[in-house]
Symmetry: C2
Subunit: 703 residues, 2 copies
């Protein structure tokens, strides 16, 4: 059934033409009575078929003894019967040819093994019969555009939602209801709302995918606790980005990982919250820290303007607010760039008392002559090159005499610039706020919230502009399923574009001498064995070997040490390599997240990874731009730019290496568990990077 | 006049028994008419004396031709006349013996040199006559308890403020009005509100000091752009802390300093925002990032409960909210500690479906039997040991049938624990919220805001418990006013308790040899001259000198190099010192902030300070506990605990060194500009710390 294009696969569920309700109750206050009540109150456009063998009508609607008696095939069945009767209901749905069933009741997989088995049975029945399942243990879904309420959520008791630009997907029914209510309070309508509960079939990823292609959604709000199908989830995020649908995400569970992330080893971070962070960063998803942030950012998205750049113009009636906003702008990545000199001159003539750089502080004077304020705003938008303008007006819009004229002045100042984001800070009565909103402005009570939201819009703009990250997964090369020695790992990774030193494997002391002669002195020598992972611990590495005689002696020493410490190890020989040269140590790793597949880690060497946890992740594969963003994200970035007289490092080569390793990791997503390149030496610009050591753990070995 | 105790010095200003108004206008909408209108509307308890030579009455109140005609000495005069007449008004106030005058008009120091001169004249008149001045360029002050409105702020136009537990001090009139309005909207009354404008006399510090001793203030909100008298400001913060008056501060200007802080040199951070951060940390002031945070935290403070510890109990109707709250708790330093096993057992019997660790997820089931919810809360408070409890109830309190019973259940559960903080998340109509608040609960619409505020209360509790930081300033030792050589600097700092190596100053090659014999080989040798600051640059340091012959030769080499590179330098000799030994490099610095005096900086050596800016500051002097907090605050703290097999460093000795240097810096606040101890080697626990180099720049040299 999943062969249908995503654009239509869930259409019957979200936009049913007819609805059956198993166990519909005449008591409209009960869980089993509420969906019918909401459908009736909401004025559902199509026929409703209550299935209730005990009654002729339910809440005044003709009811049927069984689904078989219903005169047509309903698109959706709401299943509000006890668990014991659910199985039969689904069989009836399959027999009738219903598209999708919504199961409200709890007591399935979330309650333990027994429940899981019962749930699996339902899934088997549905799958075999081509029936899609929402739930169980969910609050259902609604679509106010057609009055479809397939839900029993109590939060509709007081007031029905209105249609509007939001799509909401939530794994938690309670949180979904919560943000739906808050959105309504903020004046935001919802076109589609769905809660996925146990996700026995339909999951958050598929819902996101469906919403990503709906023209009547401007922004998607999501609540996620965990994702099962990482590939589909990534596909959904990518689709949303391609379609310029901002996703404002509440992903909970950060703190659990606070502890896990304390371990610096790449592998231990698999499946962690850090991977979600990487994912959201890569796909341009806004991750909200708080519910009010989630609502505010979604609200700001409904304008549908995602600016090209991050320049913010600020106009205030008081200097203090301007400083506060400048502080917030720095925090949220917006540039309060000064007005050009000529434009400042114009403003200075308009308002001699004003501060005219940016923030522009008109002082309360501007209120005495609103046309000056209008002109001021116009000049800022015209000559300042600002993508967004934020005005701080405190309680002025709430004063009867000034509210209208102020709004008029701002409208006048903005009228030639419908493409710009205009946000206003004000503390005013709801009806005043609505009037400003109807005039096209975003309104915030807190200036920092306004700045944070504008910052999010600028980041969406950047993500939409930068385009897709989903890249063709490169061809895999055949790799060993057994443990790999350092030498074998390096040979494998060399082909993938990882630069190593000119190393030679020597099988005898004489071989080693010949190799060293060719490489040039001094050389480094290392024992090679798949069983010896930590060579330095057994004295398996000798540095700075200065001439042929010393090389031959070192060969013998290394073989002896290996035989002594690891008598059972297979010795492949001794590596002879040149000294690494100068540069900055970095670490690159790959670990396999069980949900999202291989993630690439990058950090500076030494204490930076181990103590300061100054690392960053991206899911493989990614491109050069993403690799550069990765490099730029670490706190110690300045070290790569050259400090204390050191030359800048070759970050371009470093980015290439990250891309190559990400391609390799993606190609081998199923057969490699971890890769460690530690250290990698980033040499001076133009001189490239060199990986000194490589460890590859195939999945077969790790398991 | 400042000899009065702070408790009473501003009493007449904040609680006047009578008020005169220069330039009082009959037109109640004008700036000069509004104060009288507000006084009349507010029902000011004492006599009001309008001074207006052109009229017999103003807004129906008998007016006087001059202040001299007024039959008593008014406590306060409001000066609402043009700048040209202000001087005479102040002379009249002095002649009459008025305590304080409030000057509203602008055009003084804030407008340039001319204005500054005029302002100075006003100050001179007032000072000579014992008259205190508020302003100019301010919005005045108010005290709703006695209906005193010495302000023309437009924000009172719609509604007069009510009295209550807040004190508000703001350097900005507009911001002061803004937060007063927001506070009122949040249901918070204000007992004292004052804006200080140009601070020609009364400044934010004196107002804070006054508020810190008022019994009828529970929390002080402040807005500060900059502080002129650092000592008084510190005294005010300390007084507030001693009196357990929380200060919730908006200090703007963080971003300006973003740029300045990028420079790692300690001296360049003087006067910077980092110093304010240090100050607020030391004195337990809550620094808010956003206005809504400032309001929320102040609101939470009005309960007057500042918990001993940071354990948070969480009860929700949905699992998702619990995870979200746990994430926030980690962010804001609260411990969502699990319930003891026995208590979990009790809860499990009460609510079989619930998750009973903490967060306790009762599921919506609890709403069916409210007594279970009550008992649940009671068990958590009784056996969980939580300082604060946060309940997440979303829209339930807004449902007519459940709101009352829910409130009753929570009240019942909490009734035996009046000392605990109970915060509730809910989305409900204002009247519902008020009913919950009246029952003693803190109510927040956003769960993260609730957690952030509870976190702030816990930090206040800790700060109040830890007690004062103001310590006696130690006795200064006489120091040179000329530039100090490394040797002289070390001698000076040695007396102050800074440990250095056993170094000896040698005046000849033979001297050097004798010194090295006594110290033991190998030794380090350094040229000593007050004119040579950067010794390594001229080859003035030789490491690892192995025997007597080498020492004598090195002596000659160093003297020759100094003579060659710095022919005019005074050479005091050559230092002979033992090798430093192993340990972790740290940097300690002192810089003199022009406002707050000496600040001590601490960071790890090398890239940690220069690249990662991983440094922390405290104002001198401070005690051992503060020094430990300082050490614990840096991101690289784990390095001092021993990583990669290194032993833990002697952080106790490090803390002692920080305390000693802070005492020394405080004693010499007026004669030392900067001190650099770089590097300091923190040896293994029990082995102490050693400063290897010292640079002291006296102020006389720096200027």
């Amino acid at each position: 059934m999943n062969s249908q294009p995503v654009a239509s696969r869930l259409d019957n569920l979200f936009r049913p033409r007819s609805v059956a309700i198993f166990g519909a109750s005449d008591d409209a206050t009960r869980i089993s009575g509420r969906p019918l009540r909401y459908l009736l109150e909401g004025g559902f456009a199509g026929p409703i078929y209550p299935i209730n063998p005990k009654r002729d009508t339910v809440q005044g609607v003709k009811s049927y003894a069984s689904l078989a008696d219903v005169p047509e095939v309903p698109d959706v069945a709401l299943v509000a019967v006890p668990a014991a009767l659910t199985e039969q209901a689904l069989r009836d749905c399959v027999a009738k040819g219903v598209s999708a069933a919504v199961i409200f009741s709890a007591g399935y997989a979330e309650s333990g093994d027994e429940g899981r088995a019962i749930q699996q049975k339902l899934v088997d029945i549905a799958k075999a019969g081509g029936l899609r399942l929402l739930g169980p243990n969910c609050l259902g879904l609604f679509n106010p555009q057609i009055g479809f309420y397939g839900t029993f959520t109590q939060s509709l008791d007081k007031e029905m939602p209105s249609a509007g630009p939001l799509g909401i997907v939530s794994q938690s029914g309670a949180y979904g209801s919560h943000i739906a209510y808050l959105a309504r309070q903020k004046g935001l309508g919802i076109n589609y709302w769905i809660t996925t509960g146990n996700e026995s079939d339909i999951d958050v990823a598929e819902c996101l995918e469906w919403m990503a292609v709906q023209d009547d959604i401007k922004v998607i709000m999501a609540y996620v606790e965990g994702v099962r199908d990482g590939q589909r989830f990534r596909r959904a995020l990518e689709l949303a980005r391609q379609n310029r649908k901002p996703i404002v995400m509440m992903k909970v569970g950060r703190s659990e990982i606070g502890a896990k992330a304390a371990s610096s080893h790449t592998a231990s971070l698999a499946g962690s919250d850090a991977i979600y962070d990487a994912l959201f960063r890569q796909y341009g998803v806004h991750r909200a820290d708080t519910t009010s942030e989630q609502i505010n950012v979604a609200y700001a998205c409904t304008r549908g303007i995602f600016p090209e750049h991050n320049k913010l113009g600020v106009v205030t009636l008081s200097g203090g607010a301007g400083v506060l906003i400048s502080d917030a702008a720095e925090r949220f990545g917006l540039d309060v760039a000064p007005m050009p000199d000529a434009a400042q001159e114009v403003l200075r003539e308009l308002l001699p008392f004003a501060t005219v750089t940016n923030p522009v502080d008109t002082t309360a004077q501007a209120l005495n002559e609103m046309s000056l304020l209008a002109r001021n705003i116009e000049v800022m938008l015209d000559q300042g090159g600002y993508d967004a303008l934020l005005g701080f007006f405190s309680t002025v819009p709430n004063t009867r005499t000034l509210s209208g004229p102020l709004r008029g002045a701002i409208e006048k100042g903005c009228e030639r610039f419908p493409d710009r984001l205009i946000a206003l800070e004000m503390v005013a009565a709801p009806e005043v706020v609505r009037a400003y909103e109807d005039a096209g402005f975003l309104v915030f009570e807190d200036a920092s919230d306004a700045v944070a939201s504008l910052g999010a819009l600028a980041r969406f703009g950047k993500a939409f502009r930068e385009g897709g990250v989903t890249r063709p997964v490169p061809q895999a090369v055949p790799i060993s399923v057994a443990a790999l020695s350092e030498h074998a790992a390096k040979q494998l990774l060399s082909k993938a574009g990882v630069p190593f030193l000119d190393e030679r494997l020597a099988g005898s002391a004489d071989d080693a001498g010949t190799a060293a002669d060719a490489i040039g002195y001094p050389v480094v020598m290392k024992i090679v064995s798949p069983q010896i992972e930590h060579k330095t611990e057994i004295g398996g590495v000798i540095l700075g070997v200065a001439d042929r005689a010393a090389v031959e002696a070192a060969y013998v020493t290394l073989i002896e040490r290996a035989a002594h410490h690891c008598p059972d190890a297979t010795i492949e020989g001794v590596l002879v390599a040149p000294m690494a040269g100068k540069g900055i140590e970095v670490i690159i790793g790959v670990s396999r997240d069980p949900v999202f597949g291989p993630a690439v880690m990058f950090g500076l060497g030494g204490v930076h990874v181990e103590v300061l946890k100054d690392v960053t992740f991206r899911l493989a594969p990614f491109d050069r731009e993403e690799a550069h963003r990765m490099i730029d994200q670490i706190r110690g970035r300045a070290l790569l730019s050259g400090v204390r007289g050191a030359p800048p490092a070759d970050v371009d080569a470093l980015a290439d290496l990250l891309v190559n390793i990400s391609n390799f990791a993606a190609a081998h997503r199923d057969d490699i568990e971890t890769i460690d390149l530690n250290p990698v030496i980033a040499r001076a610009k133009g001189e490239g990077v060199i990986a000194l050591d490589a460890l590859v753990v195939p999945r077969s070995v790790a398991e």
